[in-house]
């Protein structure tokens, strides 16, 4: 169900964009109504989700410790994998968010004739890292469209990204990488039996949508071409809330824009929210200092316990016969 229905979904969006892009009212909807609606959904949705998470308290300090604790002064502790300070936890999070530290640990268990072998398996880490970083670079490069003058760092990024100056227009490495990584991640999901077992509609829909976005974008840049001046006018208009619909934006552009809008609108309600969630994960972002500093549970409530007095009352004679001191005696004695 997953791969097929999500592919149908993406194709339907593409057809929709192609149809709507061919008419003036359709272009108004595609270029003005949907982008603003998607952006509003994106922002409001993300805020809602983040606030919902943030409002839920963290009753217990439960970091997953991945290295030696800080205990005796002569034992070297793992400051990043098992941080005992807030600063260490920040470092751990930085490694996690920027370099996908935990995914880097990945290994693959294989059974060879009654024997498990745990081989290194860095492809998932590499694929994920390549995808996320190149996507970020592609996104930042897009800033040259709605911002005028183009910020220096965007120009610098363009220069680095197009360093090899292959072809004209210059081929950006990030484009190739994002495409390759997406295809790898999709194929991995499709071909790994365990992964396919659990994969759902959204697991295929999101990467297929991204693939559609990447391909339509690359076709515009390297293939059919796009009127960059028109695109830039449109982008500035959109960003300054003075929207215009210049001539010559072309079919690919409408497809690209609708797919991006769809992605943005889905984002807050899908697993893509892992982007925000990773920062809040209590097994990662807390220092392992629960015996050093008291952690407060805001909803801690009194519970029914079995007190010493109740216990002594029940076993009084046996305690006495065994010669174990009773509370009464010790008080008097």
């Amino acid at each position: 169900m997953g791969p097929l229905s999500s592919a149908i979904g993406v194709v339907a969006l593409i057809v929709l964009a192609a149809l709507a892009g061919a008419s003036e009212p359709g272009r108004v909807v595609l270029g003005l109504v949907i982008p603003y609606a998607a952006l509003a959904t994106f922002l409001a949705g993300i805020c809602y989700r983040l606030v919902q998470w943030a409002l839920a308290p963290v009753p217990f300090r439960i970091p997953t410790t991945c290295g030696q604790q800080k205990s005796l002064p002569w034992i070297k502790s793992a400051r990043l994998d098992n941080p005992s300070t807030g600063l260490g936890a920040v470092g751990r999070m930085a490694l996690e968010v920027l370099l996908f530290r935990s995914l880097f640990r990945n290994n693959q268990a294989e059974l060879y004739e009654r024997r498990f072998v745990f081989g290194d398996s860095k492809y998932l880490w590499l694929g994920a890292l390549a995808f996320h970083w190149s996507l970020l670079i592609v996104l930042l490069r897009h800033l040259r469209l709605p911002v005028e003058p183009v910020p220096q760092f965007v120009l610098a990024l363009n220069a680095v990204d197009g360093f090899f100056q292959i072809g004209a227009p210059v081929l950006y490495l990030s484009n190739l990488i994002v495409l390759g990584a997406l295809v790898y991640l999709l194929l991995r999901r499709w071909r790994d039996p365990q992964l396919r077992y659990i994969s759902q509609f959204s697991d295929y829909f999101a990467p297929l949508l991204l693939l559609g976005i990447a391909v339509s974008g690359m076709l515009m840049r390297y293939g059919a071409g796009a009127d960059v001046v028109a695109v830039k006018r449109f982008a500035i208009g959109l960003a300054t809330f003075q929207p215009v619909l210049p001539e010559g934006l072309g079919l690919l552009f409408w497809i690209h824009l609708l797919l991006v809008s769809a992605l943005a609108a889905c984002f807050p309600f899908s697993k893509l929210m892992h982007m925000g969630g990773v920062f809040l994960s209590p097994t990662r972002n807390l220092a392992n200092n629960s015996r050093i500093k008291r952690h407060i549970n805001p909803w801690n409530y009194p519970v029914k316990t079995h007190t010493y007095a109740e216990w002594e009352h029940e076993f009084h004679d046996k305690i006495k016969a065994a010669g174990i001191p009773l509370d009464e005696e010790q008080k008097n004695g």
Partner: protein
């Protein structure tokens, strides 16, 4: 026979994970908790039933109870809400679960185990799931789903190995703990957890050993120790004014091979002249509440601080146990603190201040002993352990819920001449569970235990064949209770011991008689046969 169990085929499952149908096959599930134990703990819906029954006798409004319970917990635990939301199903966790590796049941992949609950969360609590149902990964809550939850949430030992590898730190232990809490709202518990919890609550320990029997047990151990060492040790119980309260898992004074570890503690405390007391009231360090609900965890744990306050001790020392230490380290102070009636722990022998325990004021015995050894306060003769080629199994909770990795190794390397590590992917934070943790160490589910323990046993077999390892040291009461059977099944010829048993063997006590037996009462290796090797002491430099 072992090979039969090992027909673990990695074929793509044809079924759909959304289908909740579960077959309760003998050997793979635990028996239900008897009604009387639920009553003893004021838990809901006490009754007699078994998982194999068609009718689980759920309360009429069971569905509302579950949904209300979920809503409440989504508000109370950020972990729960977040872990319901952010999984991308990347699959990094799949082959990290020992139950999946040993059973190849796809619903034992951590991401799927959580998905069993997540699908219900989506259907009833998220806009996408309410609108699009199964297209958005939602699933109706039915009685079949409840049975499926029971089956798979009691096939998770809450060991957290998957959470080490998860890019978002999603911890299946959190999901399972909440899942079990929800089932508990309907009166669905297992006997192996609830009976011990009821006994801990009323009597003080999970075996229901009453105060006079507790004393008998310690006396018996002391007599045995005297026979071996010629030294009579004190047995202070419920003694007010002692400096230290010592808490151990109750198996240490009632089960084998735990018992030899108790002899190790006794020798150590006597040798250094520790001013301490046992408690017959807080006679259990282990916490079966943790496998029931957060509330039950707190109810049982409360005894430790209450007893420390009553006895007027300065600080608390804790014995070898796994999940006991997860509770003590990550929950106790928050639940039942502040421990302002205690003092920051200081070793009376070395003067070391245990700054890492300065507010909770409870120290792990391996931290305490490692400090003694580092300051050369103990005289050891590691040759007494020369008949053992030792490896060390990191218990899940101290490893991944604390980071207690070097301290026990330091004690072992000073106590034993022959120490060998298992492969890197199977120890420390990547350690494999014994397969019986979180209250699953009972007999009726032996098959799943042996399957779940297979990855651990496999790593032991590696060092058994490569280095002749014949002793698996560990620091968890459940390990000690269940790994002898695991070893017997997968790696015959490997025995199981606590760290402080091996320390106790090596400990040269002042005034001891000529030692001919180790703490098991078995003959020590002959001096002529033993290789005179220098101690394998290794200082881990900061």
């Amino acid at each position: 026979m072992a090979d039969e169990r090992l027909k673990i085929e990695s074929v793509p499952p044809k079924s759909d994970w959304r289908d909740p149908k579960v077959e309760f096959r003998k050997g793979t599930f635990c028996y239900s908790a008897a009604g009387k134990h639920l009553e003893a703990l004021d838990l809901p819906n006490p009754r007699e039933w078994q998982p194999t029954d068609a009718d689980w006798k759920l309360p009429a409004d069971w569905k509302q109870i579950i949904l209300d319970g979920m809503r409440e917990r989504l508000k109370k635990y950020r972990s729960f809400r977040l872990f319901m939301d952010i999984c991308v199903r990347c699959g990094a966790c799949a082959d990290k679960c020992h139950y999946f590796l040993g059973s190849n049941d796809p619903k034992n992949m951590p991401m799927v185990r959580a998905e069993l609950l997540r699908s219900v969360y989506r259907r009833y609590f998220t806009p996408a799931g309410k609108a699009f149902g199964s297209l958005a990964g939602g699933r109706e809550l039915t009685e079949e789903v409840i049975k499926e939850w029971f089956y798979y949430f009691y096939q998770c030992s809450e060991c957290r190995r998957c959470s080490v590898f998860c890019p978002f730190g999603i911890d299946t232990a959190e999901v399972t703990m909440i899942g079990r809490e929800l089932l508990g709202l309907l009166g669905i518990n297992i006997n192996w957890v609830t009976k011990p919890a009821a006994d801990c609550f009323r009597v003080g320990n999970h075996l229901g050993i009453q105060p006079h029997a507790f004393k008998d047990s310690l006396e018996f151990a002391a007599e045995e120790l005297e026979e071996i060492t010629g030294i009579q040790v004190d047995l202070p119980i419920n003694r007010k004014g002692a400096e230290v309260l010592f808490i151990m898992p109750s198996a240490d004074y009632f089960a084998t091979p735990h018992y030899y570890t108790l002899l190790g503690y006794m020798s150590l405390f006597h040798e250094i002249g520790l001013d301490f007391t046992y408690s017959a009231y807080a006679s259990e360090g282990g916490n079966f509440g943790m496998f029931t609900s957060h509330e039950m965890m707190k109810r049982l744990n409360a005894k430790i601080y209450d007893e420390a306050r009553r006895l007027g001790v300065k600080w608390i020392l804790g014995g070898e146990c796994g999940h006991m230490w997860r509770v003590l380290h990550q929950y106790m102070d928050t639940m039942n603190g502040p421990a302002d009636f205690l003092e920051p722990p200081v070793s009376p022998i070395t003067g070391t201040r245990f700054d890492n325990a300065r507010t909770t004021r409870m120290v792990h015995i391996s931290e305490f002993t490692a400090d003694l050894l580092y300051h050369n306060k103990l005289k050891l003769d590691p040759r007494r352990n020369d008949r053992w080629n030792v490896t060390y199994h990191d218990s899940c909770n101290p490893a991944r819920g604390m980071g207690l990795l070097e301290e026990p190794r330091y004690v072992l390397k000073r106590s034993c001449n022959n120490f060998f590590e298992m492969p890197a992917n199977t120890i420390r934070e990547q350690t494999f569970c014994c397969g019986s943790g979180s209250g699953l160490g009972t007999d009726e589910n032996l098959e799943i235990r042996l399957r779940g323990g297979f990855p651990r046993a496999n790593a032991v077999r590696h060092v058994h064949e490569k280095h002749g390892v014949n002793m698996l040291a560990c620091m968890c009461a459940i390990d000690k209770a269940t790994m002898p059977a695991l070893m017997e099944y997968w790696v015959p010829g490997v025995e199981v011991a606590g760290v402080h048993e091996l320390l106790g063997n090596a400990l040269v006590m002042t005034g001891e008689k000529e030692r001919t037996k180790d703490l098991r009462g078995e003959p020590l290796p002959q001096p002529s046969m033993a290789q005179p090797q220098p101690p394998a002491a290794e200082v881990i430099n900061a």
